[in-house]
């Protein structure tokens, strides 16, 4: 796959409002995000022949990509509902590039939208049946988890956090440094859910435990909203409206299917996936001007920064301290506010934010990473079991 380096580009991005949007349907959010991305690219809807979705698990559909496409008059030659959990939006860029390279499509829209804030199935008292609780969409291990009162995402990441603390002496304050840095970025981003809410390290340390060792600000938001991006060839990209952002490297790795059969919980799929992406790009962690790192929980950011080679394994706790991951620091991370403080759209806005940063001038001036030319995006999902990586650049070579 090395030959895909720089051959494809992200040419349009679109984001809806995020937060709590009662009364706006999930399909509407998908379509609005797609339309904005297509308009941003300066393409006509009729020029889109591919569409990738990540079906809404709170309201599962058959052939969701086809439903979304036809909701806006696209008759796709290539459409797919991709299911890698939170790794899906990043993996979509990879799949779109592969499909175009294979001649199956010429311009692919990748979209993700949710009504997790207003429609999420919150626990209903007296509901003792595990699969019904998961909305009929299984994780695969709920029989071995739900009877013990552990819920997949928060449970798995608290196990990882406890192991990281045990193996490397990582502290709750260091997790707090991730939450605080991410919040500072959200405080600069008027579209972020937590735009007007400050968070200090003291606030973090005083906040209540959800699943010890994870506190409330260590956990991401539940959001309504949608975002999308358009992928086409580099050649075509150069004749479109916006500055192309080239796909330089891609990787994808799923090291286990359950935390119970994971060899380790302190090194995840990103260790392999990032190496693949760096290799294809011919670049390494030192070349990155920023990183948009999937942050369902603060521990995920910390482990992924290690896995991506920004520091040694076990040194993530010290690395995230002292403003190093803030805008103006050595490696700005999650410059939009991440899943923790912008919105939880399973990493789709990590991709759109990376594109905006690399175009330059598409974000508030205080949020712009100066002279950004190369950045990395991570996606992570499932049982902390799926991972996708993307290296993007505004220079094709």
């Amino acid at each position: 796959m090395g030959n895909l380096r720089g051959k494809y580009a992200i040419v349009g991005v679109g984001e809806t409002k995020v937060g709590k949007l009662p009364g706006i349907g999930t399909l509407t959010l998908h379509v609005e995000a797609c339309k904005k991305a297509i308009d941003d690219a300066g393409l006509k809807v009729s020029e889109i022949d591919g569409l990738l979705t990540n079906q809404p698990l709170h309201d599962p559909f058959r052939t969701y990509s086809v439903v979304v496409a036809h909701s806006m008059g696209i008759k796709p030659d290539y459409s797919l509902d991709l299911g890698l959990g939170g790794a899906t939006p990043v993996a979509m860029a990879q799949h779109a590039a592969m499909a175009i390279d294979a001649g199956l499509a010429t311009a692919v829209v990748c979209v993700h939208a949710r009504n997790q804030a207003s429609l999420h199935l919150l626990p209903k008292q007296g509901m003792g049946v595990t699969r019904a609780y998961h909305g009929g969409v299984r994780d695969g291990c709920e029989d071995f988890e739900d009877p013990y009162g552990v819920m997949s995402g928060p449970g798995h990441h608290s196990f990882a956090a406890a192991r990281h603390m045990h193996e490397f002496g990582t502290t709750s304050k260091q997790l707090g440094a991730v939450a605080v840095a991410t919040r500072k970025h959200a405080n600069m981003n008027p579209s972020a859910t937590m735009y007007s809410k400050k968070l200090t390290l003291e606030d973090h340390q005083k906040s209540r435990m959800i699943i010890e060792p994870l506190r409330l600000p260590d956990c991401s938001l539940m959001s309504d909203g949608g975002a999308a991006f358009v992928v086409t060839s580099a050649e075509r990209a150069r004749n479109l409206k916006k500055k192309p952002v080239y796909i330089m490297g891609m990787g994808n790795h799923q090291p286990f299917a359950s935390v119970m059969d994971a060899e380790t919980l302190t090194t995840l799929g990103g260790a392999v996936s990032s190496k693949m992406a760096y290799k294809m790009a011919g670049l390494g962690p030192k070349d990155m001007d920023f990183a948009q790192i999937y942050d369902c929980f603060t521990i995920t950011t910390l482990i992924t920064l290690e896995d991506y080679g920004f520091c040694k394994k076990g040194e993530g706790g010290a690395f995230v301290e002292g403003g190093r991951i803030e805008i103006g620091g050595e490696l700005p991370v999650n410059t939009h506010g991440g899943l923790l403080s912008h919105a939880h759209l399973e990493g789709m806005t990590h991709v759109t934010e990376a594109v905006k940063q690399l175009r330059g001038g598409d974000v508030e001036p205080e949020r712009q990473v100066k002279d950004a030319e190369v950045g990395v995006v991570s996606g992570h999902g499932g049982y902390a079991s799926t991972h996708a990586s993307l290296v993007l650049s505004n220079r094709p070579s």
Partner: protein
């Protein structure tokens, strides 16, 4: 622990796929079994149709020691799942590594949740939550 037939147990119960049923059956018999590969000897959990190591289908449900140690441990402070209320909080959820090498998610009971530490030796205790279902749980043991 005894069968608590006097009140209705409302917390989530395993719904049991065909692949998993022998595990829950052995728990009900208070003699927990896990799949062991007859070809390469590897222990497999969660249950799978083929051995993860050698892809053999000769997986034999084999009794385990019930002894192990805490591999990772957390304390739940928020009622995240159906039928869990504030009265249940806080409670422990751990990954227990059995002597056979497999890891299972369970509750460490018999001590306050904040006393459960990674590395702590534990042994199995069977919690007959209904007439039909027994949940394997773990309690501290002397090393």
């Amino acid at each position: 622990m005894s069968t608590q037939s006097q009140y209705k147990y409302t917390k989530p119960l395993p719904e049991m796929d065909p692949e998993d049923r022998p595990y829950w059956q052995s728990a009900k018999e208070h003699a927990l079994k896990v799949q062991r590969c007859d070809d390469c000897g590897a222990w497999n959990f969660p249950p799978r149709p083929l051995c993860r190591k050698c892809q053999s289908a000769k997986l034999i449900w084999t009794k385990v020691s019930g002894r192990g140690h805490v591999y990772s441990s957390t304390t739940q402070h928020h009622p995240i799942l159906p039928s869990y209320t504030k009265d249940d909080l806080p409670y422990n959820v751990s990954i227990v590594e059995l002597e056979e090498g497999v890891r299972v998610i369970s509750n460490v009971v018999g001590c306050p949740p904040d006393q459960v530490k990674i590395g702590m030796p534990v042994e199995i205790v069977y919690d007959d939550v209904t007439d039909q279902v027994t949940l394997p749980k773990y309690k501290p043991r002397a090393n």
